[in-house]
Amino acid sequence: MSASELQRLLDQGRFVVTAEIGPPRSASGEPIRKHAQSMRGYADAFNLTDNQTAMSRMSSIASAAILVQEGLEPVIQMTCRDRNRIAMQSDVLGAAALGVRNVLCISGDHQTFGNQKEAKNVYDIDPIQELMILRRMRDEGRLWSGDQLEVAPQLFLGAAANPFADPFEFRVARLAKKVKAGAQFVQTQSIYDMERFERWMEMVRERGLQEKVHILAGLMPLKSHKVALYMKTKVSGMSVPDPIIERMKAAKDPKGEGVRICVEQIERLRAIEGVHGVHLMAVNWEEIVPRIVQEAGLRSR
């Protein structure tokens, strides 16, 4: 069984690029294949979101399987919202059998954000516990119950981190907990407030966490002034500084400006000790990823 390509690149010390692909609200895999075509060579791995914002879409595992067929490296996101520990372990086994090696363990947007607010959430376990369970499956070859697995999954375990949520001073402590629970890489919430991120990274380095976990800085290119404002005011756990809002407002070509901001951010991030890559979340705008990667001078994969 082959190991994670993403893990190999990171362990080699390569500055990686991961990009997010939103699975379609469709029973056809074509949209995934299309994204795969256009982004091939522009990112090292691709995150498949798991019913993002609590709206039903094609499953992240199925979408990932299509990417594997296309010869690309998927990262599946697995929320605690929709599965209890039984489903979680079974899904991970299935995903591994289909060639998935990277799992991002997250709590998931609360169902009240979605279009089926009345759904019962699961939250049998939380993401830290998810990491613990998956690590045991991999390292001990056992289910959480202790039962032996015939073949253990090979997994590269990831977690999310939000440097912009509160309480700020506890954020790094919680990251440490995730690392302790088994996180090997971390993808952050999209960063606009570079100062706050840098402060957070300082705190990460104080604890030496950057030695233990690969931090991939999350970036979401802005499409318009409206989107920027929305991010600032409507999205919980997001900090968008005013100068960025102003730039988007003043821009004649807002999309171009969004790309420029993103590229500048990548440059700045590359200089930060402990940041081992970027994670591009171009929600509903996946086609812009190649241009950003190109302009950021990261097109060599």
């Binding site: 520990r85 506890f170 919980s236």
Partner: protein, 234 residues
Amino acid sequence: MIIGAQKPLKEICSMLEGHQNILVAGCRSCVAICLAGGEKEVGVLAESLRLHSDLHGKGWRIDEVTVERQCEKEWVRGVSEKVGDKDAVLSIACGVGAQTIQALYPQVRVMPGLNTSNMGAPEEQGVFQEKCGGCGDCVLHLTGGICPIVRCAKSLLNGPCGGSQNGKCEISPDVPCAWDEIYQSLKRLGRLDMLDEPLPPKNWLPSRSGGPRKIVNDQALFTIEEKALRGKRE
């Protein structure tokens, strides 16, 4: 205590359709204190139903009773005369009370006039906040005296999630983030170290997930011998 809120009057009226002799039954315990099902509410609801009946020529006969604790057989048995000739009891106690009445008076239809919601406490007069999830395996000693099971929208045991902002939960700026509160509480207590270790997946067996729960207190329980000596008392 148990927190509940009355169902809309229209829903209650349609529930009672087809019945004649109706008893509105309240309770002097939790639901009285959460201002939903005490004697006063019994009075208001009964009066509303009489008005409804008179206006629409239903001919309902509405009687009222409020028992000390509708969840206890002895109290509920005590009102057998009131229940006797009725063909429906509208209980505005919690779901426990309504079921106790049904269990003791199988010939009468019991209707719930209340939506039983949660275990909580009055924040201030008229404001009732859920506080305990009844998970059967309390972790308050680990979480600064704040319950993450019900007060965190996701019941996270290792929070807060990324949606925590300014002490508020991502689901609404009106909802406090339980994990922010836990953090602040442990900080005040000088025990932030308790957050260093991840809490493992929780045993939900003692919770509702484990099926209907029953607690047997051996000390209180009458033994078979005692029962034999006591004889049947009801």
